[in-house]
């Protein structure tokens, strides 16, 4: 599963090479930040010499969704201060998606950490290779950034299949995302996550009051 990060990393490395930065910036970005979708934006931001305040604000807005992950990521099964530090540092969308599946309920500290380490290595390795190869690929080749879209498509399909009895949840998410896109396109992610969480909460409260609740 985590191997899906390799083509995404390659795509990111090529984007870095085409932006004119030295190849090792791709390695440094992916090692130190490790937030895929934000890093694609960061290359554009530093290319335009954006102020550091803008960089910080963009990092906040694109990654604020991770706040919600603390509700379900199994950090209490990761023991040790250092392990917890790394585990939160490497809490990406992919790590969250994989560690919250049904089959992950019995995973040990070691299993969760190795998952995160491997995802991290795939991402750094892919990006480094992509940046090294990037200069060989002509600028006229476009569309590699679709790797990110494809990754989320796969993660969404797997997560829906994992709980296939619960179709209203992805429908609610889809409606939240479309509403956020139309109403507040500049703050789409934050708006969509807030609407989605509020919708889930409302649905839970409505069903738990009904007498048929199991």
């Amino acid at each position: 599963m985590g191997l899906g990060l390799v083509p995404l990393g390659l795509a990111f490395g090529i984007v870095v090479a085409h932006s004119g930065l030295a190849w090792w910036w791709a390695s440094l970005f992916t090692t130190a930040i490790y937030a895929g979708s934000f890093e694609f934006l960061l290359v554009a931001l530093v290319g335009a010499l954006a102020p550091l305040g803008t960089v910080a604000l963009t990092a906040f807005l694109v990654n604020v969704r991770h706040v919600f992950y603390a509700l379900s990521f199994p950090l209490r099964r990761v023991h040790g201060r250092l392990a917890k530090t790394y585990s939160t540092f490497a809490l990406t969308d992919e790590a969250y998606a994989l560690a919250t599946t049904q089959q992950a309920h019995s995973w040990s500290t070691r299993r969760i950490l190795w998952l995160q380490v491997f995802l991290h290595l795939y991402w750094v390795g892919g990006a480094t290779a992509g940046a090294l190869l990037g200069s060989l690929i002509p600028d006229s080749i476009t569309g590699l950034d679709f790797a990110l879209t494809a990754l989320f498509t796969v993660l969404a399909l797997d997560a829906i299949r994992d709980r296939r009895a619960d179709l209203p949840t992805p429908v609610l998410a889809l409606l939240s995302a479309l509403a956020a896109r139309l109403a507040l396109p500049g703050q789409m992610l934050l708006t969509a996550f807030t609407l989605f969480t509020a919708g889930l909460l409302a649905r839970h409260l409505a069903t738990s009051k009904s007498p048929t609740h199991a």
Partner: protein, 109 residues
């Protein structure tokens, strides 16, 4: 061309913000974890979160442009491959390859 000091500062700022957003909520939200409401939410959230991120990736799709055709075709390829083989690497490589071929040839003309 951005200089090294600026780039290092941008990386440091981004890393600090990202890590804070991932680590702090575990402390701040700790009292909530025992609640049945939060447990119910947490089992339902992953699928929805990924759907929202997918829509976010497609948010600026110009529906009247050939680029939209490339993206929608590639999305269909990704979904079909994944429903058929359930192999994430294959689905991502297949979808991305389709997109690169279409985007490169459509934009060139």
């Amino acid at each position: 061309m951005p200089d090294t000091r600026y780039l290092l500062a941008a990386v440091a700022v981004s890393a600090a913000v990202t890590w804070a957003l991932r680590a702090l909520p575990f402390t701040a939200l700790a009292p909530l974890r025992a609640s049945r409401t939060v447990q119910n939410l947490s089992t339902r959230m992953p699928a929805g979160v990924m759907v929202i991120l997918l829509v976010y990736c497609l948010r600026d799709l110009p529906l009247t442009d050939p680029r939209a055709l490339a993206a929608l075709t590639a999305l269909t390829v990704t979904i079909s491959l994944h429903l058929w083989r359930r192999n994430a690497l294959l689905s991502i490589l297949g979808g991305t390859t389709a997109h690169v071929i279409l985007a490169t040839t459509l934009v060139a003309h």
